[in-house]
Subunit: 302 residues, 3 copies
C-alpha cells in the first residue's frame, strides 16, 4: 500500500493536478515492465495532466479521477470552495504560495468562508484538507479516499490487465472537463463500447460498510439497464460481495460518458465511504478489497 | 391508430427503452416496403436502443423520443423519480422484477415517495404509470401521450417522406444523452442543417386546445430567429392551424442540438397537452391532426 | 471609436445576431487589407451568424461574443428574460415587430415582467435596453458594454495580429451553443492549444475601476493552473496594469472550451464593469486601454 500512502499525501485540487499526475506517471514507469501486459502510455501536454494506458486490445475503459475538492483563496482572508467540500469550522487546511508554506484553519460564517492564516494568501491559491491517515484492521480513514482509493484500484488492476484502457482524469470534482477530450482520443485510437468508473460512493440507508463493493444502478444519471444487468449478472457469478445503489443525486465521470458523442455504456463501481468530502472519509477494507477483486474479475469478462 | 395504442401500452422509462425500440422496429420492418420511399434503417447495439431511418437525400431530421418519465425502486419501499413525473398520492404504478409482475400505488409524503406493494421491489426496478386510454370525438387522454404522439407523428410522416431523417431517441426525459451520438452519426452519414423536434408541449395561458399544432419560439433555450421565421412563414402558407409558444422553461431533444458541435438549426413542433406528466395527459385530436399535417407539409419544403 | 459606437447602437439579443454579424463583417471587409496580416474570413450559413478570422499560423484563439441579454414578448403584455438582465421597473426597452417600431417601459411585478406598450407585441419579439452612451474622461457608460467592449478589443487586436484566430460568437448570454461548432471548425482547420475570452467582468470587493484589466483565475469554472500561471507571468513582464479575479459564480465562452472534446487551455481577460446587465454598465477607460494593450502583448508571446 506504499503507493496509496504516497497518493494520499499528495495534493491535487481540481485544476492543479500536475503533481499527482507526475507521481502516478513515475509509478507507472517504474512498474509497468513487471505487469502482465506492458501498456502503451499516453501523457504530456496534448492530454493536459491526464494519463491514458492502453493494454492489449481494449473493449472496456476504466476511469479514475486524480483531482480532489478543496478551497481557493479569494480577496482579503476569504475562501471559496472548489467542488463540494463539507464546510466544518476549524478544519485544518494546507497549501503554498510564492511566500511559502501555508497551514491554517477554516472559519465558517453565515455567508462566507475564511481562513485564519496570519498573512494574506495570494489570490487563487488552492488549499487542501490537511492529511491524517488512520489505518485499523477494519477501516481506512483519511482525507481524499475519494478518489485516492479509485486511483489505487486502477493501479492494482494494471498489474494483471490484458485488454483495456486505464485512464486517470482531472476536474471530476468541479464539473468535469477532461472526459470529453479523453473519450475522443480513446475512440480515435482504440475504441471501446463499455466503461467503468473507479470512484468512491456513499454509505446510506441502503449501502453499508463491510457489505461489499457498490455497483451503482443510478445517481443523478441512469446508465442503460441492459448494461447494468450484464454487470450485475457477472458480479453474481463472481462470488465477490457487492451492494446495489440507487440514488437520486450525485455524479461521476460517468455523466460525461452519458453525454458524449459515442454510444458507450457505463457503470459506477466503487467502495462506499461515510463522512464524504470531509478530512475523515472512512472506508471498510473489506469493501476496498471487494472493489479491487471485482474490477479484476470483470475486465476480462465484459 | 392501432400502432398508437400499441405504443401507449408499452412501457419505456428512461434507460429501459429496449422493448419500445423493438416494437417500433417491428412496425418499421412490416411497413416500410409500402412507404413512398423505403428508408435505410440503422439500429442495433452500435446505436444502443435508438433507431435512425434515412429517406432519400436528407436536408432535415425529425427527432421523436421513445422514453417516458417514471419511478425507480430504491431501498425498503422507497421510490425516486425518473424525469419529472407529477407526484400524486394514489397514482397506480406498474412494472416487473425477477419475482413477477408489480402493480401498486404511489404514496407521497413530505420528503419522500413510497409504494404500497406488499413485498419489497428489487432495487433499481423501473415503474410506470398504469395506462388508461380514453378516446372521445374531441380528445385523447392517456399516460405518456408525451411522447407516444410524437412517435406516432414520426411514423405517419414515414409513409410519405421522400428526403429526410426520422430518428427515435432515448433518455430525453432524464437529461438526454443519445442525441450527441445520433447527431454525430447523422452528420458523418448524410449531414443535415435543420431539425424538427416531434414532441408534445403544454397548454398554457397562451396555448389552447383545438387551436392547432404548436411551433415553439422558445422554451428554456432559444432557436435561431432566422430559422424560426422560415418555419413560421411556411406554416402560414400551409393553412394548417398553428399556435406560437413562448416559454421561459422546459426543454427537449432540441437542447442537445443547440449545444452540439454542428451548426444545425432546430425547432420544436408538437401538439399541446394539459395534465402534463400525469397519467391523464390530454390532447385535442384537432391539434394532433394539425401536427401530422404540418410535418408532412414542412419536410418537402424546408 | 466610431466602430464602438456603431456596435453599441446595434441590437443583437441572443438568437437574433444577424444584424450585428453583418455590421462586424462589413467593418472587417473594409479594413482588413490595411491590417498587418490579412486574415482568412469564415462566415455565412455554415457558421450560422458567427464569424471566424484566421491570421497566419494560429496557436491561440480569441473569442468575443456578439449577443446581448434582453427580453422576449410572451402572451398578452408579458415579457420573459433572455439571459440574465437586471429587472428594474421603468427600464426603457426597444425593438420591432411586423407592425413597426417599439419603445416601451419594463413593468416589474412580484412574479412576472410586463411592458406598457399600448398595443400587443407579436409573440417572440426580442426587446433590448434602449441605448444611452455616456463618455467622460474617465469612464464609458452604456447598455451592453458587455460585450461591445470585448468586440471592440477583438477588432483592435486584428490591426496588428500576426498569428491567431479571432472569433465572434453567438448565444453566450443564454447558455451558449455556438462554441462547440466553432471549436470543431477551428480544430479541423488550424488547431490551437490556447484560448482567451475577450469579455467584460464585474467590479467587486477585490476588483476595482482604474486598477487595470482583469485576468480571471476562476468564475464558476476553473482554468488549468499551469496555463494561468503562464498568462500571469507574461502580464507581470508587460508592465500593463492588471488585477486577478477569483469568483465562485459567473461564466463565459470559456465554459464551453472547458467541456469541449479538445485539450485547449483557456483564460478570461477583460475590463471590469459595475451595474452589470443594466442599461448603465460602466467601465473605466484606463481598464479598457489596459485590456487592449494586454491582448496585443500576449498574443505574440503565448
Amino acid at each position: 500500500m506504499k503507493i496509496l500512502f504516497e497518493l494520499l499525501n499528495c495534493t491535487s485540487v481540481s485544476g492543479d493536478e500536475e503533481q499527482i499526475a507526475a507521481l502516478i506517471l513515475k509509478h507507472i514507469q517504474e512498474r509497468k515492465d513487471n505487469w502482465k501486459v506492458v501498456p502503451k502510455v499516453y501523457s504530456g501536454e496534448n492530454h493536459h495532466d491526464c494519463i491514458l494506458l492502453k493494454f492489449g486490445d481494449p473493449r472496456t475503459a476504466v476511469f479514475a479521477h486524480m483531482d480532489t475538492i478543496g478551497f481557493m483563496a479569494r480577496y482579503a482572508n476569504e475562501l471559496i470552495p472548489i467542488g463540494g467540500p463539507e464546510e466544518i469550522e476549524g478544519t485544518k487546511l494546507v497549501g503554498s504560495d510564492s511566500l511559502g508554506e501555508i497551514e491554517c484553519a477554516l472559519r465558517v460564517d453565515e455567508n462566507s468562508l475564511y481562513h485564519d492564516f496570519p498573512r494574506r494568501i495570494e489570490r487563487g491559491t488552492p488549499l487542501s484538507f490537511k492529511q491524517n491517515i488512520r489505518l485499523t484492521e477494519e477501516f481506512i480513514e483519511a482525507a481524499y479516499l475519494d478518489n485516492r482509493l479509485g486511483l489505487y484500484n486502477a493501479l492494482k488492476l494494471c498489474e494483471t490487465l490484458e485488454n483495456g484502457w486505464v485512464v486517470f482524469t482531472t476536474y471530476e470534482e468541479h464539473g468535469g472537463g477532461s472526459m470529453p477530450f479523453l473519450l475522443k482520443f480513446i475512440q480515435e485510437t482504440a475504441p471501446i463500447k463499455q466503461a467503468l468508473i473507479s470512484d468512491i460512493t456513499w454509505v446510506t440507508s441502503g449501502v453499508r460498510h463491510h457489505e461489499g463493493v457498490v455497483i451503482s444502478i443510478r445517481d443523478k444519471f441512469i446508465p442503460r439497464r441492459k448494461f447494468l444487468q450484464k454487470v450485475v449478472r457477472l458480479a453474481e457469478l463472481s462470488d465477490i460481495p457487492f451492494q446495489l445503489e440507487v440514488e437520486a443525486s450525485g455524479g461521476s465521470d460517468g455523466r460525461e460518458i452519458q453525454f458524449s458523442p459515442y454510444a458507450i455504456d457505463w457503470c459506477f463501481i466503487g467502495a462506499p465511504e461515510d463522512r464524504v468530502h470531509t478530512p475523515d472519509e472512512k472506508v471498510s477494507l473489506i469493501d476496498l478489497e471487494a472493489m479491487i477483486q471485482l474490477y479484476q474479475y470483470l475486465l476480462p469478462r465484459l
